[in-house]
Each structure stands twice: as structure tokens, then as C-alpha cells.
């Protein structure tokens, strides 16, 4: 089963938004919210998308759920091209991709009862009778751990964790192949997070679901994902199997992210790599490698040439110096690199003045 065709296969997805400038004669500028993402997800697998806020994670989710059209690039869902296909085909594709949102308080219609929320996708997409829909909704409710009495309650009567269960149940109503989880646990209490994650993993096993799991919590990603995609400012910087990336990151940004994960066990704690500076504005990204102003290994080429994503040690990585990382990514070197970077930065600032 696992070696079957991918549920979704995306190549070079891009989404640019025109942004109006203040001022009468200024031209609109393009905000590159997502600048080239390619990935495959097989049934029963989870691809985790990781990155800071504003790196294009949610844009990716909006593209894959077909809420928005990509500016360029293509993706297939279950072998059907989702960008160019016609209306009728899109309708069938819609039922294959469903989404679970971050905030369970905003994602459920407060005017509808749980049963109505769950049955809405069925009303739209199927011609089941009222009693059949009810039966199906109750079956899914049981699957996600809700009781039949809760069928006719309003969302405001539930806690955050239960609401997220309802949201998951709604996503499963149409038997989707792919579920997009847009930070599904980050709005929940830590104790409830574990429950929600276990639920998601159990359902994956049971229904052979593929997940596109968007998160900024690396410990959650480590638990749930099979593959990881690290994004920075709309670009994919590193992408590969979970263990390859977590064991030996090759992109400086991935390293910094991993080093920032809190650990309970003191021994497994890493030295923090402090990134200097802010996330640059996506309206005015730095030339060359978008990460170069915050990078410890920055050199001249990084300022001028944007690195292409290339295959190295079983993963895709977009960094000019990835080979150097792979040979000796010791902490001392990182620290040294950081110092060097700061010195460089100082010199740069002086030049700028």
C-alpha cells in the first residue's frame, strides 16, 4: 500500500499576490508568498511543513485545498491535475482534500449544531437521504471519540479539544485521501495536544490518510511526520525524510530551528543558535539567498546568487554551503561562524552608512 501512487504530487507551486502601494502612480508590487514548492505525499504518510510565521505555510494550504489558484506550477490529486481541470472534476477533487484549521473556536459555524456541521459536506457533495447522513455523521463522531448525544449540540458547548475533534470529524466526512492540518494542535492545551495528535495518527492508520501537516512545533513534527519540508520566506530550504533532517540538518536555518526546540532532557539539549535580525519583509526580500542576512555561514556568493534546491545526502537542500555543513557541523563551528557573521555584519553596516 505504502508504495502506491502519491495522493498528491505538486511541482514548483508558486503564489504571488499583487500588493497595492500607497501613492497614486506607484505600481503594484508582487508579494511572493510561495515561491516554488514541490512535493509528493503517499497514502498513509505525513509531510510536515515547518517554518516561521509568514513563510508561506498557510498559502500552501490554501493552494492545495483549491481555495486559491496558484500563480504557476501544477499539482495532481489522485492523478488528476487540480489546476487545469474543469469544474466538474474539481468538484470531485474537492471531496478528496479536506482541511483542519488551527483555531477550533473559529472553524465551526456557531449557528449550526454539530450534526449540521458534519452533514454539510454530505449535503453539498452527495445525494444521501437525511437518515443516511445522520448515520454517517454518528459513525464518524464515534470514530473521533464523540458521543451520539453531542450530535445536536452547538459548538459553544464544547471545549477546545472536543471542538478540534469535531473539526477532524468534518474533514473526514467525505472520505478524503488527503487532510491538510493547518497547525491543528497549536491552539490547544499541551495535555489535549497529545490526545489530538494520537487521534490524528490513529485515523491515519485506520483510513490510510495522507496528511499535509503544517506546524511550527518541531517536537510535534518529530512525532507525527514521515517527511519534513522546512520553509523560509516562501521558499523551501530543506526537504527530506524526517530522520535525515532531524539527525543531520544541512541548511543553517534548519539547524537554528532544531536548536531552538526545547528539550526536557538536559543531555539532549543543544546549544542555541541565535539568529540575528528579523525575518525580512516578503515584499522586499534580500537579493541572493533570502536567508543570507541572518546566516552564520554567509559568503559573497550568498549575497548575489539565490541557491537552487539540489539533492544532497538523501534530501533536497537549497544552500550554497550545504557540503560544508555535511562535513563538520559541530557546535563550535556554528558559534565561530556566528561570531564571524557578526563581525562581517558590523563591517557591512559600516559600509552601508
Amino acid at each position: 500500500m505504502s508504495a502506491s501512487n502519491p495522493v498528491i504530487s505538486a511541482s514548483n507551486l508558486k503564489k504571488y499576490y499583487p500588493v497595492k502601494q500607497s501613492g497614486f502612480f506607484k505600481k503594484d508590487i508582487l508579494l511572493k508568498a510561495l515561491d516554488g514548492a514541490s512535493f509528493d505525499i503517499e497514502p498513509g504518510k505525513t509531510l510536515a511543513v515547518v517554518g516561521e510565521s509568514g513563510c508561506g505555510k498557510s498559502t500552501l494550504a490554501r493552494l492545495v485545498t483549491m481555495i486559491e489558484q496558484p500563480t504557476s506550477g501544477e499539482f495532481d490529486i489522485a492523478g488528476i491535475n487540480a489546476v487545469t481541470s474543469g469544474k466538474a472534476q474539481k468538484r470531485t477533487l474537492r471531496s478528496k482534500v479536506q482541511i483542519v484549521f488551527q483555531d477550533p473556536y473559529g472553524s465551526l459555524n456557531p449557528r449550526k449544531k454539530v450534526g449540521d456541521i458534519l452533514e454539510e459536506p454530505l449535503i453539498i457533495n452527495t445525494s444521501l437521504s437525511r437518515s443516511q447522513r445522520r448515520e454517517k455523521a454518528l459513525a464518524i463522531m464515534e470514530k473521533v471519540g464523540l458521543t451520539p448525544e453531542q450530535y445536536s449540540r452547538y459548538p459553544h458547548m464544547f471545549s477546545g479539544g472536543q471542538r478540534q475533534r469535531i473539526a477532524v470529524a468534518r474533514a473526514l466526512m467525505l472520505n478524503p485521501a488527503l487532510v491538510i492540518a493547518d497547525e491543528p494542535v497549536s491552539a490547544l492545551d499541551v495535555s489535549v495536544q497529545a490526545q489530538a495528535l494520537n487521534l490524528l495518527m490513529d485515523l491515519q492508520e485506520e483510513m490510510n490518510l495522507a496528511y499535509l501537516f503544517i506546524s511550527h512545533d518541531l517536537s510535534v513534527v518529530r512525532l507525527i511526520s514521515h517527511e519534513v519540508m522546512v520553509m523560509y520566506l516562501g521558499r523551501v530550504v530543506e526537504q527530506g525524510e524526517k530522520n535525515t533532517i532531524f539527525d543531520k540538518p544541512l541548511h543553517p536555518y534548519t539547524m537554528a530551528l532544531l536548536a531552538a526546540t526545547p528539550h526536557v532532557n538536559i543531555k539532549s539539549r543543544q546549544k542555541r543558535i541565535r539568529l540575528s535580525g528579523e525575518l525580512p519583509s516578503p515584499l522586499n526580500p534580500p537579493p541572493g539567498c533570502t536567508f543570507h542576512r541572518r546566516c552564520a555561514y554567509m559568503s559573497d556568493i550568498c549575497r548575489q546568487v539565490a541557491p537552487e534546491s539540489r539533492r544532497l545526502e538523501n534530501r533536497m537542500v537549497a544552500c550554497h554551503h550545504a557540503e560544508k555543513m555535511s562535513t563538520a557541523p559541530s557546535e563550535s563551528k556554528i558559534q565561530k561562524g556566528l561570531v564571524k557573521n557578526l563581525v562581517d555584519k558590523g563591517a557591512q553596516d559600516e559600509n552601508a552608512i
Binding site: 488551527q102 473559529g106 472553524s107 465551526l108 449557528r111 454539510e120 459536506p121 452547538y154 468534518r170
Partner: protein, 306 residues
């Protein structure tokens, strides 16, 4: 131990209550009746509606019958009054109570028609403007702004002056004049709701524009609209009375409250009851609708339920 048992017993009805949700209407009444003002308002409205329906039976006299022997007779508790004309008579000897009872018919009719017309048109325009946006929205909203820029009564008078003075035209004019309020309110709520996640979720499951607008979004925008509608009810009654007062609404001898007020203005010094009772009727009806509207909003909002 004893205490624990007591608590357990207390718990039993609560859990039963949870498993079997109460009938929606029962639930609604429970929340609505917590607001005493709203209940009083509702009773008053119910009374007014009954008066309007059974006016022929309740009213002691015909609203048009002129009792020449009893012109400007005071209410029964005053000197010179008698119980034949409980609230006295007007300047041509018509029984004021009967005219007020028949007037309730007209006022409620005006309110219902105006609110229905403007609410229906306002919701359709507002929802589509908020949902589709773009050029269409700009056109609709600027048009509403232009209508708002003119004083409402003046605009209503202008419309009535064009169409000719009659109650139907007054109703139409008032419905047009209050339209911008509904459109703006609907559009604003739609825009506020449009970007919430549950709307996106419905879109992901493939909901079409009609379903999105009227099934997903509109129910979440109804609370302010219900309040506006009940306020609009009273405003419509008031505006119709104002137009009647100016001679542009109901024409004499129709027993319309505003027209009654206008026709008897010159007797305000001599016979206060001729002016006061239609005024009090307008005041109480408007107040009742406002109170009931407030209660309705609280009772219909699931977020305010515990």
C-alpha cells in the same frame, strides 16, 4: 455520606436534561423570559395585534361615525365625560378609543410591510455586496451613501410627493428610505464573518455562492439585523405617523395615529385628550417593539446562552 447522596440525586435531572435537549421554542422562551422588559413589550405587541385583528368586535363604536351631540367630549373620568366614550371624542364627535383600536391595524400593517420590504431588499443587496465585493459593491454602497446623505423624512416626502399622497405610497417611500441601514449593516457583518475559518471550511467542502451567502454566512449576521428590524418596525410606525401628520400619508378620515394627531393639533389647549391618546399609542407601541427586539436579540444569540 448524606451530602454525597443528596448531590447525586441533584445530579440526576441535570444529566437527563443534557441528554435530551429541550425543544427549541421552549429553550428560546426560557432565555427570552429572563428579560422582563422584553416580555412586557411582547405582551403589549400581542395586545396590539389582537386589537388590530378583532377591531370590529372590540371597538365600541365605528371609527367613522360622528356623534354630533358629543363633540369634544372628555374621557369618562373627567367632568362631563361618560362611559359611552371612554377616551372621549374628537372635534367631529368620533369615539377616540375606537379610532385608536382601528388605527392599530394600520400602524402594524405599515410596520410589517415596511420592515419586510426593506429587510428583504436590504439583505439581498447587503449580502451580495459583502460577498462578491469589487465594482458591484462600490456601486451599491455609493448609492446607499447618496440615499443616506439626504434627510430621511425629506426623501420620503419627496418620494410621496412624486407618487401622490396615500398610505401605500407612504409605505413604499419609508421602505426605500430605511433601506441603506439594512444594506450597510448586512454588508458589514458579512465582511466580518467572511474571513473566518468556518466559512473557508464550507468552501473547501464545495459550497456554492448561494449556499455560502444565505446558509453559512447570513445566519451568523442575523442578530444585528433582528435588532435593526424591530427598531425599524418602530421607526416605520413613527415615520408613517410623521407622514400622516404632514398630510402625506393616510388621508382623512382614515384613523391613522399620526393623521389623528395632526388633525386635532389645534385643540391641544382646549381638549388635551384628542392629541394625547394617539401620541401615547405611538409611544407605547414603539417602546414595546424596541424592548421586545432587545430581548429577541439576546435570546436568539447562542453565544449568550449558558
Amino acid at each position: 455520606m448524606n451530602q454525597a447522596i443528596v448531590i447525586k440525586e441533584k445530579n440526576i435531572p441535570i444529566t437527563e436534561n443534557e441528554t435530551v435537549p429541550p425543544h427549541p421554542l421552549k429553550e428560546f422562551w426560557k432565555y427570552f423570559s429572563e428579560n422582563r422588559g422584553a416580555v412586557i413589550g411582547l405582551y403589549f405587541i400581542a395586545g396590539a395585534i389582537l386589537c388590530a385583528i378583532f377591531a370590529d368586535i372590540i371597538a365600541p363604536h365605528s371609527p367613522f361615525n360622528q356623534y354630533r351631540s358629543a363633540i369634544l367630549q372628555p374621557p369618562f373620568w373627567m367632568e362631563g365625560g361618560n362611559t359611552e366614550f371612554i377616551l372621549g371624542t374628537d372635534d367631529v364627535g368620533r369615539d377616540i378609543l375606537s379610532r385608536l383600536i382601528f388605527g392599530a391595524r394600520l400602524s402594524l400593517f405599515v410596520g410589517v410591510i415596511v420592515v419586510t420590504l426593506s429587510l428583504a431588499a436590504g439583505i439581498i443587496l447587503g449580502v451580495t455586496a459583502g460577498y462578491f465585493g469589487g465594482f458591484y459593491e462600490t456601486v451599491v454602497m455609493r448609492l446607499m451613501d447618496i440615499m443616506l446623505a439626504l434627510p430621511s423624512l425629506l426623501l420620503a416626502m419627496a418620494i410621496v410627493a412624486i407618487l401622490g399622497p396615500s398610505l401605500q405610497n407612504a409605505i413604499l417611500a419609508i421602505a426605500i428610505v430605511v433601506l441603506p441601514h439594512y444594506v450597510r449593516l448586512t454588508r458589514a457583518s458579512i465582511i466580518a464573518e467572511k474571513n473566518k475559518d468556518y466559512v473557508t471550511a464550507s468552501r473547501v467542502s464545495g459550497a456554492g455562492p448561494l449556499r455560502m451567502m444565505f446558509n453559512v454566512l447570513l445566519p451568523n449576521c442575523m442578530a444585528p439585523l433582528i435588532v435593526q428590524a424591530t427598531l425599524g418596525f418602530s421607526a416605520a410606525i413613527l415615520d408613517a405617523a410623521a407622514l400622516g401628520f404632514l398630510g402625506m400619508g393616510a388621508q382623512p378620515p382614515t384613523p391613522e395615529w399620526g393623521a389623528m394627531l395632526a388633525n386635532s393639533l389645534q385643540f391641544i389647549q382646549r381638549a388635551w385628550w384628542v392629541v394625547t391618546f394617539p401620541g401615547v399609542a405611538i409611544l407605547l407601541t414603539v417602546l414595546a417593539f424596541n424592548l421586545a427586539g432587545d430581548g429577541l436579540r439576546d435570546a436568539l444569540d447562542p453565544k449568550m446562552k449558558r
